[in-house]
């Protein structure tokens, strides 16, 4: 473990290379897991947004981007 940014960046690059070199079937299975995680984070974000007290009234808040994909 190090706080040397150069070494941190190198290790990130190495991890990316290692992941890229995995068999395609394994990488596609990772996409399944990543998607589950992304959806869970998105749902948590939605919950947080709706449970927060806002200073600005609803109509003056920035419009959220529409969902690109249907929710489960």
């Amino acid at each position: 473990m190090t706080f040397d940014l150069k070494r941190v960046l190198e290790s990130k690059k190495a991890l990316r290379r290692k992941l890229a070199a995995r068999p395609v079937g394994e990488k596609l299975a990772m996409l399944d897991a990543l998607r589950e995680r992304a959806l869970a984070l998105r749902e948590a974000g939605d919950h947080l947004r709706h449970s927060t007290v806002h200073e600005a009234p609803e109509k003056y808040r920035p419009v959220q981007n529409k969902e690109k994909h249907p929710k489960r």
């Binding site: 990316r16 890229a20 079937g25 996409l31 992304a38």
Partner: protein
């Protein structure tokens, strides 16, 4: 078998049964064949179909009919297969047409999957030009997954040289 493999198996059947003439996987799922996996929420499938004589535009209805009869669920612009929202994109423009023609077949857990070449995925990302497409293009460049000569020839054929110069100037100047 992963859920995406199930999607691929279904799309293979769709093609084998003649509902589409040819398909190829693009987008983030396509990029995963060459790069490290990056989170995505949907699967982009590019398709060509046999033109119906009385219709100028390609209809996706036969695809939707076929897949809903086999358990697919339509949700907006997507059809959900094995839990994944799948978007069918008709080949529009010469670059995507060429990408479909040159797509390669890769075996995934014993299932053949047709996917755009790395160079075509990178060129389509450059042409599409959203922030996430630029990020994907950078991944391709940094990983060395694309053949520079082949990539530049594609850009030249499809009038993307200026966009590439701008991309290089913005993101790659000074890069080691």
């Amino acid at each position: 078998m992963s859920s995406i493999s199930q999607v691929i198996a279904m799309i293979n059947r769709l093609e084998a049964d003649g509902i589409v003439e040819r398909y190829a996987i693009g987008g983030a799922v396509g990029a995963t064949f060459y790069l490290e996996p990056v989170a995505t929420l949907d699967v982009d499938i590019f398709v060509t179909s046999r033109p119906e004589p009385e219709k100028a535009l390609l209809s996706l209805q036969p695809i939707y009919d076929y897949l809903t009869a086999r358990g697919g669920i339509i949700e907006g612009e997507y059809i959900v297969i094995a839990g994944w929202p799948v978007q069918f994109l008709p080949s529009a423009g010469t670059l995507v047409e060429e990408a479909l023609t040159n797509a390669v077949t890769v075996q995934v857990e014993g299932i053949p999957a047709r996917v755009f070449t790395a160079e075509h995925l990178a060129a389509v990302a450059l042409q599409t030009g959203r922030a996430k497409d630029k990020a994907r293009l950078l991944q391709f460049v940094e990983s060395g997954a694309i053949d520079a000569g082949h990539f530049k020839a594609i850009l030249n054929r499809h009038g993307l040289d200026n966009q590439w110069r701008e991309f290089e100037r913005t993101f790659l100047s000074g890069a080691k």
